[in-house]
């Protein structure tokens, strides 16, 4: 029903000239236009996940800047793996909980949380602690494990990726909050905000088969989350994205917040100990204009708790 009414709205919108607002995903970027005095990037460290977020979002103008009363919000953490929170292969459940709470406080009508997991979704949702966290906070878990939930969308600026099947919740949401965890990655070197969005599409294998870095960058030109919150509380420094044991994890107690996912990735790369351009998809996305990776020219707010 929602899917149908959405499509109807798009087609009606095209007739009446409001198609741009309804149909163009760039509206997400427009909605997050930085206001005066608000930094491009907020970096917080030395705290627990909840405290890091509280201070970070405050520095970015508060959740009310992103979530308006009655809106439908999607929070997209990384729930890829059937491993426990201390292994840091999934987004920290405490951070997810805090974000859902902030959204509801800001007046969100519904807050959905989902991921198209790598391991079996039931195990991953449960073991990651995110299922419980979302329930406790009053959010709703949605499944991402069935092709029926995904719809084909075009990627107009994509070079390798011309179309993908994207989760319907992303199409329906008023606000998208991307909450990746910073990790090492065997194939892509690093996984942060852009790579986390692979979890909103159905066929990831196709990306791997068709120039992974280019596909990640292509998708970043299409879908711009309103807010990216990089969980760098526990960081999987090697053996990512799944990790082998807690010996692979460093407790960095940090968090990065930005409306630009390329900026978030560039800063995360630095935090990890890599130059942004050493990660191909960050370099390509920057070159394609999907976002800004030139940290030296951006307004950065650094907070140490």
């Amino acid at each position: 029903m929602q899917r149908r009414s959405f499509l109807k709205a798009v087609s009606v919108g095209m007739w009446t000239g409001t198609g741009f607002v309804l149909g163009d995903p760039a509206r997400f970027a427009l909605a997050a236009e930085p206001a005066a005095g608000i930094p491009d990037l907020v970096a917080v460290k030395n705290g627990e996940p909840e405290a890091l977020f509280d201070r970070g979002i405050e520095a970015l103008g508060g959740m009310g800047r992103f979530v308006k009363k009655g809106q439908k919000v999607v929070v997209k953490p990384n729930i890829g793996w059937n491993v426990s929170p201390e292994r840091a292969a999934n987004t920290n459940p405490r951070l997810v909980r805090r974000i859902v709470e902030h959204c509801l406080q800001a007046g969100a009508k519904e807050v959905y949380v989902f991921d198209h997991t790598c391991d079996a979704w039931r195990d991953s949702y449960r073991t990651s602690g995110i299922e419980q966290a979302v329930k406790d906070a009053g959010g709703k878990l949605a499944p991402g494990n069935s092709e029926g939930y995904f719809q084909t969308v075009a990627i107009p600026r994509g070079r390798r990726l011309r179309e993908v099947k994207e989760h319907e919740l992303i199409l329906q949401a008023d606000v998208l909050i991307n909450v990746p965890v910073l990790k090492s990655h065997g194939g892509a070197r690093l996984t942060v905000a852009m790579k986390n969005l692979m979890g909103v599409v159905w066929d990831r294998s196709e990306w791997h088969a068709n120039d992974l870095h280019q596909c990640i960058a292509d998708f970043a030109t299409y879908r711009k989350p309103d807010l990216n919150v990089v969980d760098a509380y526990n960081v999987l420094l090697r053996h990512g994205p799944r990790g082998v044991s807690t010996a692979d994890v460093a407790n960095l107690r940090s968090q990065l917040l930005s409306t630009d996912l390329v900026t978030a990735d560039a800063a995360a790369a630095k935090l990890f100990g890599l130059e942004p351009d050493a990660v191909d998809y960050i370099r390509i996305a920057g070159e394609m204009g999907a976002g800004r990776k030139d940290l030296e020219n951006l307004a950065i707010r650094r907070i140490v708790l």
């Binding site: 029903m1 929602q2 970096a43 460290k45 059937n82 491993v83 959905y112 790598c118 391991d119 079996a120 979704w121 039931r122 195990d123 073991t127 709703k140 878990l141 949605a142 499944p143 494990n145 069935s146 029926g148 939930y149 990655h185 065997g186 194939g187 892509a188 294998s205 196709e206 791997h208 088969a209 068709n210 120039d211 992974l212 870095h213 280019q214 420094l237 090697r238 053996h239 994205p241 799944r242 082998v244 044991s245 010996a247 692979d248 994890v249 460093a250 800063a267 630095k270 935090l271 100990g273 191909d280 940290l295 950065i300 650094r302």
Partner: protein, 555 residues
């Protein structure tokens, strides 16, 4: 002998067993770890017997309980506990409702002792010589498991997910979709053909399967000859109305001699319920002096009273029967010829690497992967041992949350037909899961605890560089490394800043996550070759990180 309550008990118990067993096979998540599952599986005869030979555990003494029950009351097992028997009863019941009412529902059938005991001997003989073929094709639980797990489960999943979609259209997420990974279609032919045959046989001949082809039925038939209580027709009450005989699904009541062939009786108690004269029911054998045997020769001035009813009870004269059985039967020949052709077709359907797969990668891969050994589930240990214990009931296939366990065609050879193997094209073995060993009702898959399962080496990953995307397309991938739980598969520098997989065999557990994730087609660039005898992998050792705590932000 007023014992009409017996049938009521039978129906209630049977429906409870059927419901829990069916649910176990179609939606394991729902009841797999509840007492209902334990109760449903405990008395299943062959699995329990096989497990007992492995474990000598109390939990595996169900077959003893069944033997004791049979020694007391006959084959109660066949109508109350064994799901395949209950399924036949339901088919018979429905067919009866659909048909025009008829007086004679069933006829007395001759015991086919040569066939039923022959099947039993063949099954035991093949089992002792190390082949499970006869047992897996004929065992009632195996067949029920395959009907419920292989045929009914996909329908259940479709219905369940349809409901999910309906709820989604109302804006509610839930119930979350279930997954069903399709096995090789040829393996579905076995339960499908068996079910068709079983339905036909039940509609035409009642419980003939149980007294002709079922090895458990034959064995319990032998045991029930010695039962303490038997269903009998004492001389005094019977009015020769023949109701018992025409309602007997097993065709084992012979009015001529007022005998119940208790070795074929499946204890459905229908005869007791329909007998208005209360002339049939459970009774202990009485001393001969109270109930003398009926006279062998009769007065010549009329037929024996029972002869009046023999035509009603469907008994044909013996010579007519013989002539019937000797005549050539064209239908049977067609059937045999058809089955032979079917077998040839099925063998042709065995999947081969890369056949019928469209590549999505730019450069289709060329090196064909030849697996020397199939990969058996974790806890199978030695392939020969595993193949000798598995009855192919497919409970593990239903229970596997990752859809990696699939029925084999000829991967294990003919005697391992339909036994589960690890199909890494449909799934992979989760590092955090040991469920198949926990649920295996025969002990063919040993119940390893998680720590032991995590070092069970089922086989080893083989990397085929010439098929790898990094090599053929010169772009990054690393899907195999991403999924590897032990980092046996890890990325090493290749060229131009790219990395390419490498396998450390000592760390590989053969879980197939790499093979499953590999996007190269039609032939994958990494695959797991099984071991005939599973080994132990080294535990992954993680050295501590040299963690730098920076005071400043690096930007």
């Amino acid at each position: 002998m007023k014992q009409p309550w017996l049938k009521k008990i039978r129906v209630v118990v049977a429906l409870a067993f059927l419901a829990s067993t069916t649910l176990l096979f179609v939606d394991f998540e729902r009841i797999g770890e509840t007492p209902a599952a334990t109760v449903a599986l405990y008395p299943q005869f062959v699995p329990s017997l096989l497990k007992f030979t492995q474990t000598f555990a109390w939990a595996a003494t169900g077959f003893l309980a069944v033997l004791v029950l049979t020694l007391l009351f006959g084959r109660v097992y066949c109508s109350m506990i064994r799901p395949l028997g209950i399924l036949q009863d339901i088919v018979i019941h429905i067919a009866d409702k659909l048909r025009k009412p008829r007086k004679v529902k069933f006829r007395y059938q001759k015991p086919h002792d040569a066939i039923r005991y022959g099947v039993l001997a063949l099954t035991v003989g093949l089992f002792l010589s190390g082949s499970m073929l006869a047992l897996s094709l004929l065992d009632p639980l195996s067949n029920f498991g395959r009907i419920a797990g292989d045929l009914l489960r996909p329908l259940y999943v479709v219905a369940h997910n349809g409901l999910g979609q309906l709820m989604e259209s109302l804006g509610i997420y839930g119930p979350f979709p279930l997954q069903w990974k399709a096995p090789s279609p040829a393996t579905l032919a076995f339960p499908a053909l068996f079910l068709a045959g079983l339905v036909w046989l039940s509609v035409a001949k009642g419980r003939l399967f149980c007294n002709l082809l079922c090895p458990v039925g034959a064995l319990l038939g032998l045991v029930s000859r010695f039962a303490l209580f038997k269903i009998r027709i004492p001389e005094d009450a019977c009015i020769l109305c023949a109701q018992c005989s025409i309602h007997c699904k097993a065709g084992c009541i012979r009015l001529k001699t007022k005998e119940v062939d208790f070795s074929r009786c499946v204890a459905c108690f229908n005869c007791i319920t329909v007998c208005e004269a209360h002339g049939i029911g459970y009774a202990r054998p009485r001393p001969v002096k109270f109930y003398p045997a009926p006279p062998v020769s009769l007065p010549s001035n009329g037929p024996h009273p029972s002869h009046r009813f023999s035509s009603l009870a469907g008994e044909k004269p013996d010579d007519a029967r013989e002539a019937e059985s000797r005549a050539p039967n064209p239908a049977r020949r067609t059937l045999l010829r058809g089955s032979a052709l079917l077998l040839v077709w099925l063998v042709g359907l065995v999947p081969r690497d890369g056949v019928g797969i469209k590549p999505r990668n730019r450069v289709p891969t060329t090196v064909i992967n030849r697996k020397v050994w199939p990969v058996a589930p974790p806890g199978a240990g030695d392939l020969a041992r595993f193949n000798d214990l598995c009855i192919a009931c497919h409970l593990c296939v239903s229970a596997c949350p990752y859809g990696v366990l699939q029925p084999a065609m000829l991967e294990y050879g003919l005697s391992g037909l339909l036994q589960p193997y690890m199909d890494y094209t449909t799934g992979y073995c989760s590092y955090e899961c040991n469920r198949c060993g926990q649920v295996c009702p025969t002990g063919a898959i040993r119940a390893l605890d998680l720590a032991a399962k995590q070092i069970a080496q089922l086989g080893v990953a083989r990397f085929v560089r010439d098929n790898c995307i990094v090599y053929t397309d010169h772009t990054a991938c690393g899907a195999c490394d991403e999924y590897c739980p032990t980092k046996a598969v890890h990325m090493v520098p290749y060229r131009d800043g790219l990395t390419i997989p490498e396998v450390r065999e000592n760390l590989c557990v053969g879980c197939g996550a790499c093979e499953n994730a590999c996007p190269a087609r039609p032939h994958r660039a990494i695959y797991v070759d099984g071991y005939p005898v599973q080994k132990l992998a080294e535990r992954p050792i993680s050295k501590p990180l040299e963690q730098e705590v920076k005071g400043e932000f690096p930007f």
